[in-house]
């Protein structure tokens, strides 16, 4: 996994609460046996007409957001199924962070394993960012994991929480399985007494 460095980007707003993983990537795209191409199906039913042409009113079909690396979503983002295809699809599109006031547990865990940062901000900060984007769709936001801050277009900084282990893994490109495998001895000891 590559190291997660600070970056600056415009923000694609998708201000819907409780966006479930069936919307992020509908189940019919889960028949793949690899991770490739998921970005094309991101938000498929919101993004495309039945004939496959883009729905012009959907935010990600606005040419401006083709380069967006940050998605701004409503509360409880990623609820529903455990499909890791959801972060694969978001990453496949090019997103590196999702900003929301809350995330569903399994989605958050999956996102962190794929270099997609769930940025949990206060309702006030969320509202502030929405207003900035309403005023200027090109407004830039900086996400800095090291300092755990989001810098809003006016230069004000909002902090976000992340557990120290996930932060360490993301910043250093450390893979969780590699960490787990270091405990082979402890696992063996555990197995010898666990019924």
């Amino acid at each position: 996994m590559s190291q997660y460095s600070a970056f600056q980007s415009i923000v694609a707003p998708l201000l819907v609460n409780d966006i479930d993983t069936d919307q992020i990537i509908p189940a019919r795209f889960l028949k793949a046996t690899d991770k490739k191409g998921m970005g094309d199906h991101l938000f498929a039913d919101w993004r495309y007409q039945p004939d496959g042409s883009p729905k012009p009113e959907f935010v990600l079909n606005n040419a401006l957001y083709r380069q967006a690396r940050i998605l701004l979503a409503g509360e409880n983002f990623g609820c529903g199924s455990s499909r890791e295809h959801a972060p694969w699809a978001l990453c496949g599109f090019g997103f590196r962070a999702v900003i929301s006031t809350s995330f569903a547990d399994i989605f958050k865990s999956n996102a962190l394993k794929n270099g997609l940062l769930p940025v949990e901000v206060s309702a006030d900060a969320h509202w502030k960012l929405v207003r900035f984007l309403e005023a200027d769709a090109n407004a830039q936001v900086i996400v800095d994991l090291e300092s755990q801050t989001v810098t809003l277009p006016d230069g004000s900084r909002e902090s976000f929480p992340i557990d120290s282990f996930s932060k360490y893994c993301l910043l250093n490109g450390v893979d969780e399985l590699g960490y787990l495998m270091r405990f082979e001895g402890a696992i063996r000891d555990f197995e010898s007494t666990h019924s």
Binding site: L15, V16, N17, D18, D20, D22, Q23, P26, A27, R28, L30, K31, A32, T33, D34, K35, D45, P50, G74, E75, N76, C79, G80, S81, S82, R83, E84, S102, A104, D105, I106, S109, N110, K113, N114, D163, S164, F165, E176, L177, Y179, L180, M181, F183, E184, A186, I187, F190, E191, H194
Partner: protein, 470 residues
């Protein structure tokens, strides 16, 4: 004095392998269930790292999501689904994992066959790349859904890195009225706390109403814990649990059985232990429930009226409800009773067990499905199917005009060709009414099997209490 502990804490602590300061716990996994949809990329990861499956005997595989529910002798029409199924067969063979394959008499939805085979046992940690793994918590196991990276972690190490969740007691007291069932308990909870109300928590269901539920009913309740945001939901084991497990293929036997039962009966929350959150529901006050919106938290009593977005002060809630009602084609203030529907689906890991089918069949017996309504009855496993057929339930369904199928997830997730057409309305015993969940553009009302069967008969959303004789 020993610190009193919750059921969750007891199971968690007995599976802690190690924990470094500042890092998540390393939790040992007793049972790992895999299916065709969320496992292929995990096996690819293993091959890329040249790793083996550490404990092949602790992983069990089956295919359920993308398999057709027509007769197994017919070929799988969808080449992608066929490839995914072949991939699971190849992975199980290569890594020595037990597979309940297409031809197996024990094949079925992973959350139906685990308990049915006695693989699911109290006090275990159970995981699967599937959010409805919470089902197995009905046995007092700590069971939760994981992503595909974590499937790979478990295959390689039999462990997971986990942050300790908080606890949330859901106490349900009293007794259910006729026509009201376990599904209505969980839909009522979700309507109360919303789809994010349990985030970061593990539910423990307690109280007299939960105690009086059968194991299958407890599974229905635990199954939808994730719809409230809780990755797991648990019920402390009791005599009902023990009676269910006795004699099952993988349940302990002989002396080991006696010892296990003794151990299981201690798995309960100690007096004086505290939960981080709690809520109480009165089972006696519950009516049959139905969802009106596009998440399982948007539910109400079947006699209720669709809420008005303008009644909400919070702008984002107002917007969410408006969006849902537009998708559902419903007007604020409209009653759902009497609404004409196109499809009834009885199945899924929530409600496809033998007791669910018996309830539906008891209503359908001697009656017929309303004309123009498609009714699909999909047993949760081939074992459920055999049992139902031995009781003649399949004849009742067929004579009523319903379609009787082979086991699988079917129209709950619409990956296998069983799906709604755009705009169709379905009353479904499954667990998710998300946009497009049962087919692109399809519109879902979640209910109990009783309400679904009553609706099948009239062709309109029906209060089952009007059809049952006391």
């Amino acid at each position: 004095m020993i610190q009193p502990k919750t059921l969750f804490e007891k199971v968690w602590e007995s599976h802690l392998v190690a924990q470094e300061p500042g890092s998540p716990a390393i939790l040992y996994v007793d049972l790992h269930l895999i299916h065709e949809v969320t496992s292929p990329q995990a096996f690819t990861g293993l091959r890329q790292r040249r790793l083996n499956v550490r404990r092949p005997g602790k992983t069990v595989a089956t295919m359920d999501h993308s398999i057709p529910t027509h007769h197994p002798s017919l070929p799988i029409a969808d080449p992608l689904a066929a490839k995914q199924i072949r991939q699971l067969e190849a992975n199980a063979r290569e890594f020595g994992i037990r597979l309940y394959g297409m031809e197996s008499p024990n094949r079925g939805i992973v959350h139906v066959i685990g308990p049915e085979l006695g693989l699911t046992q109290p006090g275990m940690t159970i995981v699967c790349g599937d959010s409805h793994t919470s089902t197995h918590g009905a046995f007092g196991a700590l069971a939760f859904g994981i992503g595909t990276s974590e499937v790979e972690h478990v295959l390689a190490t039999q462990c997971l890195l986990q942050r300790k969740p908080r606890t949330f007691e859901v106490r349900v007291e009293g007794s259910l009225s006729p026509g009201v069932s376990a599904k209505d308990i969980i839909l009522a909870l979700l309507a109360k706390i919303g789809v994010g109300g349990g985030t970061g928590h593990v539910f423990e269901y307690t109280g007299s109403a939960i105690r009086s539920l059968s194991m299958e009913e407890r599974m229905t309740v635990c199954n939808m814990s994730i719809e409230g945001g809780a990755r797991a939901g648990m019920v402390a084991p009791d005599e009902t649990t023990v009676a269910y497990l006795a004699g099952r293929e993988y349940a302990p036997s002989g002396d080991a059985w006696e010892m296990s039962v003794q151990r299981w009966m201690k798995l309960r929350t100690d007096d004086g232990a505290t939960y981080d959150k709690s809520i109480t529901l009165d089972a006696g006050a519950l009516a049959p429930m139905i969802t009106y919106g596009t998440n399982p938290g948007m539910g109400m009593s079947i006699t209720g009226r669709v809420p008005d977005p303008d009644a909400f002060s919070d702008a984002s809630q107002k917007l969410a409800l408006k969006k849902s009602l537009t998708y559902m084609g419903l007007r604020p203030g409209e009653p759902l009773l009497g609404k004409v529907i196109d499809v009834v689906f009885i199945g899924s890991c929530t409600n496809s067990r033998i007791s669910d089918l018996r309830q539906a069949a008891a209503l359908l017996k001697g009656r017929t499905v309303a004309s123009g309504v498609r009714v699909l009855v999909v047993p949760g496993s081939q074992e459920v199917k055999r049992q139902a057929e031995s009781e003649g339930l399949h004849r009742i369904f067929k004579e009523a005009g319903a379609d009787w199928r082979e086991a699988g997830c079917s129209m709950c997730i619409a990956m296998n060709g069983d799906q709604l057409e755009p705009g169709q309305y379905a009353v479904s015993t499954s667990n998710r009414n998300f946009e497009g969940r049962q087919g692109k553009g399809g519109r879902t009302f979640l209910t109990s099997p009783l309400t679904a069967a009553a609706t099948a008969i009239t062709g309109r959303i029906t209060d089952v209490r009007t059809l049952i004789t006391h």
